[in-house]
């Protein structure tokens, strides 16, 4: 793995998200109420809604377009909806957020 520094945790609002552009498309970085950071695809499998614009609650995000709810760790859609978003390795080093560039690169090559 090769970790790259993306920014400070405070660059993402508490219970909010920010987007990172990558070779595999837009990835959303979510920060939960308990200060945990998750990385997942920004694109909702339903109709492409931008998940980074959704409401972050517990360890989930709700898509802003039609309210599908995704677990941020597994990427699984919750409840009656079926679908999954890709999730990516992310790490906190103190207050810095690190993303694994190889996992982003590998996915693009595949």
């Amino acid at each position: 793995m090769s970790w790259i520094d993306i920014g400070h945790i405070d660059d993402i609002p508490l219970r909010g998200a920010r987007v990172v552009k990558t070779p595999v498309g837009c990835i959303a970085l979510f920060r939960t109420g308990a200060n945990k950071v998750f990385a997942a695809s920004d694109t909702c499998p339903h109709k492409g809604g931008p998940l980074s614009e959704g409401i972050v609650h517990g360890q989930s995000v709700t898509c802003p377009l039609h309210n599908w709810v995704f677990d941020l760790h597994s990427g699984q859609a919750q409840g009656a909806d079926e679908g999954q978003i890709a999730t990516y390795p992310v790490q906190l080093d103190g207050e810095r957020i690190l993303l694994d560039s190889t996992s982003l690169g590998q996915r693009s090559a595949a």
């Binding site: 790259i4 993306i6 920014g7 660059d11 993402i12 609002p13 508490l14 219970r15 909010g16 920010r18 987007v19 990172v20 552009k21 990558t22 070779p23 837009c26 970085l29 939960t32 109420g33 308990a34 200060n35 945990k36 109709k47 492409g48 809604g49 931008p50 614009e53 959704g54 409401i55 972050v56 609650h57 517990g58 360890q59 989930s60 709700t62 802003p64 377009l65 309210n67 709810v69 760790h73 993303l99 560039s101 982003l104 690169g105």
Partner: protein, 810 residues
């Protein structure tokens, strides 16, 4: 010959080393002990009970003169070790040299003092030793004390002085107390308990300066301009390992003195123990690991095999009446699950964090009786899958239980107001029930509760249930969502009667089953809080649907639409030019005239929003709130200005109303229109509030709609003057804001409370009308402003956080 052992610092860690060492091998070493404090070892932890008056210094001495004498330890108390010569193996004290074969650093920590202006004034102290404690003990009634730091130490200092009668304020920079040990929910309960002890707690408060007079601290100044007068200022913002001497000695030092698993520093004859060390990147601030270190060090000195291992820690606070406990890692995260239990009646909050089959963290407030059991499960990594269902109820509980949905109502004090319309409190109703009023109708007849607007019906029913038990059959009401058991109406009423002013307060006091709600309840609760406590509660953008967070309507392709306000539908060439320029500059694909008498720029990219707003702002254009559950448009017709039939200045009144109402948040969107005559060209009679001008004045009608339901408005009142029309509109808007269920348009609220009730309270009761207007104005003093102008300052937040496609291309 006996080996010469010199110990620097008679603290809790080195004290433990000496105990182990002299117990195991009384004659192995010839020991000299330096201590900067003019005394031997005492239980530093217990300074807090001494401060609070529960114990005396004598009670907390661990090693007295006799103890040292028995073990033949040469004490050099009140004397600092100032230099070490590693070649000659000599420690230089303030009063002379001592040679050593083995040397131990047990120098502890130094309190960190924020280097703000005034930090060196008299009357600014830390909380570390007996001297500090004695100064604080001098603070009785009539003294004002400010404590900076809402962590363990700061709060124990604050509670101790409050117990002595001082007027204490705690200033904390974070959003909740003890944020390193507690989650926001437990932090909320802790704050509440401290406030009950008369301590003032200021959160998110940044200290900037200590003002002094004649060399003595006089007041603490905060960034927002607040001035907090004080006779004593205690800084309890953290500690730093005391490493200065070790560093001068040439030992390897990072944050603390580097040691290996045997507590040996970079010099094989020198050891370190306690808060002054750094082990595998960690430094320490609680005694449990220090005692482990002490044991290892004693064994190392005796030539035995031993290794120090870090393990999970738990925290408690030594403040009477604040029972809290936290242990392990309680951040949410990877494969983790929370189990949350809240009992508002007892002020209890418990949260367990599970990872796979194991308990990895726990936070508890109010009932910490089982904390040791939970801590054991965490420490030993036990498999808890078998008892998962009942885990949170503790070791004694086997057999499934659940939170009582009625406990929020049961917890209300007798004087809590249930029915706001008729001023009926809980005890009035329970007395009536005991007197034989056993159904809703009887309660209404005897107490008038729930007999007016009816929004408290749910609460009255719950009271019937609580008081009568199974004798009362509860009608099924829809809770807000799966996170709680209460209806919207109940939540609203309880927020008011219990004076809940933060999300954390709502989650705890109303027994929420999730950590911070979900996309259904959180926006509703955010709205209720800001509508009821405009001054105290701060709107939370993260609890809003994207449109209201981004101040633009999201489109199906993720772009946004931008609609500037055109007051009453009036515009001018300069505004139109600015809109045209912006449309060109930002490649807006569609420019459309809306059904609300203004212009929509559709398809704006998210990252461009702050820039297009700033351009529009320059031309005087502000947000049209086309995205909000708030005031949308006030449509007008041309009225007396131009129209041959116009009876009043409908355009002017529309513009005035829009300028008064804009920026206000409402349960759902709020649309108005003003027509100049009953021909009604502004379609006023299908708006939430519609005004039709007539010769003799203004007809105000409400409850119209033309969306999913089409409704004609119903006449509320006709008034003779424009001023009175404006007053009635403000009052009815505020009544809807205060009473409406989130996402109910005005007509739905009206259907619930009845037009007659609105007429009585908003129109006929002049005193109430004025009070509503006043509350509306108070709220508008905060919300009547352009969110675009504010958001434009945050432009970087709208851009991607990083762009890795560029790096990949390199």
């Amino acid at each position: 010959m006996k080996q010469k052992l010199v110990v620097i610092g008679a603290g809790m860690a080195s004290g433990r080393v000496l105990e182990h060492l002299t117990d195991a091998a009384p004659d192995a070493f010839d020991i000299t002990l330096f201590n900067a404090e003019p005394r031997g070892n005492y239980n530093r932890i217990m300074l807090s009970p001494v401060l609070a008056g529960d114990q005396t210094y004598e009670d907390i001495v661990t090693h007295d003169d006799a103890w040292y004498a028995e073990r033949g330890i040469t004490c050099r108390f009140g004397e600092k070790a100032v230099k070490i010569d590693r070649e000659l193996k000599v420690v230089e004290g303030e009063n002379g040299h001592v040679p050593y074969d083995k040397l131990i650093f047990g120098t502890g920590s130094n309190p960190f003092m924020i280097p703000m202006p005034g930090h060196d004034l008299d009357g600014v102290i830390a909380y570390r030793d007996l001297e500090d404690t004695e100064q604080m003990m001098g603070m009785g009634a009539g003294n004002k004390v400010v404590v900076i730091g809402g962590g363990l130490l700061g709060l124990e200092a604050a509670a101790g002085m409050a117990a002595r009668g001082a007027d204490v304020t705690v200033v904390h920079i974070m959003g909740h107390l003890m944020e390193r040990q507690l989650d926001p929910a437990a932090g909320y309960l802790l704050k509440k308990s401290l406030e009950e002890k008369g301590i003032t707690v200021l959160l998110n408060a940044k200290s900037t300066e200590i003002a002094g007079k004649d060399g003595k601290a006089r007041a603490l100044l905060l960034e927002d301009g607040t001035e907090l007068p004080c006779d004593l200022l205690v800084m309890a913002v953290g500690i730093r390992p005391n490493t200065a001497l070790a560093q001068e000695t040439g030992l390897a030092v990072g944050r603390g003195i580097h040691v290996d698993d045997q507590m040996i520093t970079s010099d094989a004859d020198i050891y370190a123990v306690g808060e002054c060390v750094e082990h595998q990147g960690e430094v320490f601030g609680l005694v449990a690991p220090l005692y482990d270190q002490a044991k290892v060090l004693a064994q190392t000195l005796l030539g035995e095999d031993a290794a120090f291992k870090q393990r999970s820690l738990s925290t408690k606070l030594k403040v009477t009446g604040c029972d809290l406990f936290s242990a392990g890692d309680f951040a949410e995260g990877e494969t983790r699950e929370d189990i949350v239990f809240r009992d508002p009646a007892r002020g209890v909050y418990k949260r367990l964090v599970l990872e796979g089959d194991k308990l990895v963290g726990a936070v508890m407030y109010g009932d910490t009786g089982d904390s040791n059991w939970f801590f054991g499960l965490i420490r030993d990594g036990e498999d808890v899958s078998e008892m998962r269902e009942t885990l949170i109820f503790g070791p004694a509980y086997q057999g499934g239980g659940s939170a009582d949905p009625l406990s929020a109502v049961a917890a209300l004090p007798p004087e809590a107001e249930i029915c706001g319309c008729n001023g009926v409190c809980k005890s009035d109703i329970t007395t009536a029930i005991e007197g034989g009023a056993t159904d809703l109708g009887a309660i209404r007849a005897t107490t008038k509760a729930s007999a007016s607007c009816g929004t408290c019906t749910g609460l009255v029913e719950q009271l019937l249930q609580v008081t009568l038990g199974d004798d009362f059959q509860m009608p099924t009401a829809q809770p807000v969502c799966g996170c709680c058991e209460l209806t919207h109406e109940d939540v609203r009423r309880l927020i008011k009667s219990q004076e809940l002013k933060s999300q954390e307060a709502v989650w705890q006091e109303l027994g929420w089953k999730t950590l911070n709600g979900c996309h259904v309840c959180r926006p509703a609760v955010n709205y209720y809080l800001l509508a009821d406590w405009p001054v105290e509660y701060q709107d939370d953008p993260q609890s809003r649907f994207v449109n209201e967070r981004k101040h633009a309507n999201i489109q199906k392709d993720g772009t946004f639409s931008v609609v500037p306000r055109m007051w009453g539908g009036i515009t001018n060439p300069a505004e139109l030019r600015a809109i045209a320029d912006a449309a060109e500059k930002y490649d807006v694909p569609t420019v459309k005239v809306t059904g609300g008498q203004r212009i929509d720029l559709l398809g704006v990219k998210g990252a461009d929003l702050p820039y297009i707003w700033s351009d529009l702002n320059k031309a005087g254009l502000v947000s049209g709130h086309a995205y909000s559950k708030g005031l949308r448009t006030v449509k007008t017709c041309v009225g007396t200005d131009h129209c041959r039939f116009g009876t009043q200045d409908s355009t002017g009144l529309g513009v005035k109303l829009e300028k008064i109402l804009w920026g206000s948040w409402t349960p759902h969107k709020l649309k108005l229109a003003v027509s100049g005559c009953p021909r009604n060209c502004a379609e006023a009679t299908c708006k939430d509030i519609g005004l039709v001008c007539v010769d003799s004045g203004f007809q105000i009608s409400i409850g119209g709609a033309a969306g999913m339901d089409v409704k004609e408005t119903e006449l509320l009142v006709q008034v003779p003057t424009e001023d009175e029309a404006i007053e009635v509109v403000m009052a009815v808007t505020q009544a809807y804001r205060e009473g409406g269920k989130y996402l109910d348009r005005l007509y739905k609220w009206m259907a619930k409370v009845g037009l007659d009730w609105i007429k009585e309270t908003v129109v006929d009761d002049l005193e109430n009308r004025r009070a509503l207007v006043e509350r509306f104005e108070l709220s508008q003093s905060i919300y009547r402003k352009d969110p675009w102008a504010e958001q434009a300052k945050e432009a970087p937040r709208f851009a991607p956080m990083a762009d890795l496609t560029l790096e990949a291309a390199e």
